[in-house]
Symmetry: C2
Subunit: 136 residues, 2 copies
DNA sequence: GCATTATCCTATTAAATCGATAGGGTAATA
DNA sequence: TATTACCCTATCGATTTAATAGGATAATGC
């Protein structure tokens, strides 16, 4: 299940991508427009800023803005930042790999086999979908 | 993230599918072989039995066994029984649909758009993968 | 300069879910 | 008729999630 954190993050990013200019947008503007808890959204945007997706400006006329062209922001980046692993099981995760306690042999594991397929497929979609694609 | 419930359930089903005959297998045998908590596995197999995937036999020589040919058990069935919705967001779920509180218009929602793609793709994989495929 | 604005940061919390455990009841078999 | 093994309910600790609170800090415009 997708967390609200990720869901809200994507919505906020799309909102920013739809802005004509790159002028900063206040948290409260996005939060009201997208029906997101202001404080919760605040922490999400902070994460995105700390990881180089967003820039911010303090004081009057401040807010958040995209640092890159939406075309250059693949969903893989967003998902990994906010949601964490894309794979459904740690043992098939590229960026968050973990061995299973129970499995003696990963290659013989049926769960591993099917979830690897799912991950490959999902990954492909997220890789080929950019923020620009979602903003149309 | 895939729950251990589903993970264990798949492993148990594969174990049963690998049996040459359809003789009942005791919970404890599967639990030991697959490194699964006996009691936890018990509740999982019970769910699978109540939903027509497994049959059971009480008393000496009893245990669980598959009711259908592994070829006729698609992973969609297993996933929906144990994990619940296949979609990452309720608003794109076929069997567990729910409207989002925040979204005024589903068709205009970016999250909806991308997650629909992911669901279609994942669903296709689960549909085309049977228990028999995982048991080889 | 100074008041205003809006981000920045830490801590807390209520609720839900997950994984596991406990303990006995019931039915079938040999 | 004793044994075996599934059946059923209840509980519990740990973790995660979503949200909230309260103030510190920095930048802007007048």
């Amino acid at each position: 299940m997708l967390s609200k954190k990720t869901k809200y993050g994507i919505k906020a990013l799309v909102y920013l991508a739809k802005q004509e200019n790159r002028a900063p947008v206040q948290i409260s503007v996005i939060s009201q427009s997208e029906n997101i808890s202001r404080k919760f959204l605040e922490s999400i945007l902070l994460t995105l800023r700390k990881n180089g997706v967003l820039g911010s400006k303090k004081g009057k006329g401040g807010g958040y803005y995209l640092l890159k062209d939406p075309k250059n922001i693949p969903m893989t980046d967003v998902m990994r930042l906010l949601e964490g692993p894309i794979a459904m099981v740690p043992c098939v995760s590229l960026n968050f790999y973990e061995k299973c306690d129970d499995c003696p042999d990963e290659n013989a594991c049926a769960v591993h086999k099917i979830m690897l397929k799912v991950r490959d497929n999902t990954l492909e979609i997220f890789r080929n979908t950019t923020l620009a694609d979602l903003s149309n």
